[in-house]
Amino acid sequence: MSSISIKNIAIKGMAGCVPERVQENKDYPGMTPEEVQKYIAATGVVRRHCAIHDGSICTSDLCQKAAEKLMSDLGWDKNEIDLLIFVSHTTDYKLPATGIVLQDKMGIPTSCLAFDITLGCSGFLVGLGVMGNMMASGCFRKGLLMVGNTQSEYASPEDRSMTLLLGDAGTVTAIEYDPSSKDEVNITYMSDGSGREFVILPDGGSRHPVNEKSFIMEDCGNGIRRTRLHEKMIGDEVFSYGTHFIPKVYAEMRSKFNIEPEEVDYLLLHQANKFLCEKLRKKLKFPPEKVPYNIQEFGNTSGATIPLLMVTELQKELHDHQLNMLAATIGVGFSLGVAQIKTHGGIVVPDLMYM
């Protein structure tokens, strides 16, 4: 497993923005009220914030709004931004990269390096590792890590395993090069493409280009219908994989980075579904008070889950206190990351924004 340890950077601020539009799971027409209640109890998702997917609100818009407010609150001049990384599977276009579109729309200088990383639920930890590593040598001074997805777009309305789970969000993390910073970011990764069929949007890429058959609603059993242009998830395989490997990676992290669980303030779990998260919480042996949730309100927002959790549940704490946090993500790919993030207060976190 690849591990990184990043120093010389400071996490200066974090912000998030979600669509104002809410979809209540209890109103889902495809199930009886009893079935919905059972589903809500198991997944923990009561409602989700979802954009209407007509191009009016893209992930980049959510991230841009969050970033502009954050920079204003931080007193950052946009002319100082030299690194912008956009992490998402819901890019504005297949090409060009959304990060570069954002550079222009936000008036960031052309001297900035901007690019995209296409990842889902592991996006924040991979993005943090990439940006942190790039900045640690001092080659870049002020970076914006934008992570989000409007992946409710990919859920078939007749696939309850996806449409009642996926929510939309955009987040931004402002990172500065600072050799005097005591912040520490330690991350261990796994990449396992043997799981590629378990979370996949089959058609529309180069492997299976869009054709007439892509649009046909197919019966997938258990009352689920979707086209090959909808996201397909084999939930039991994601559960089996995540609950098996996250504890293993955590055990390796513990010994490699001398992590004492009693000294950990919070365990931030990717908000995949509550059943999976609770299984992990118990396996990793953390009490409920150290494991915040916001899945009930936002659902599974893919790469945004960890930063969104920090914005909604740790807004004051990130500012007022030193924090020793663990984060664990299992995402499409499979791409897995477990991180220890140590911060030292003073982190600016504006209230959650809506669009």
């Binding site: 059972k38 939930g235 039991d236 098996h244 059943f275």
Partner: protein, 75 residues
């Protein structure tokens, strides 16, 4: 864990199906209550009780609780 204990532990993950419905030869996928959420709790039970990783493919490939037990034991 014995087969009988496994059958009991399997049955315990179901809320609405009586324990008598569960025997080694029961094809669990034909039970009314069988579905994606129960499948997750079976994967979780096997991990807790037997410290083994059960996959979705394993559950789909077996046609009885006994067959599943044998598959897990062999892991």
């Amino acid at each position: 864990m014995t087969l009988d204990e496994f059958v009991k532990a399997f049955a315990a993950e179901f809320d609405d199906t009586p324990e008598e419905a569960f025997k080694p030869e029961t094809n669990y996928k034909e039970l009314d209550e069988w579905g994606s959420l129960v499948a997750l709790s079976i994967i979780s039970m096997v991990d807790d009780e037997m410290d083994k990783r059960l996959t979705g493919a394993d559950l789909r490939s077996c046609s009885s609780i006994e067959e599943l037990f044998n598959l897990v034991e062999a892991k």
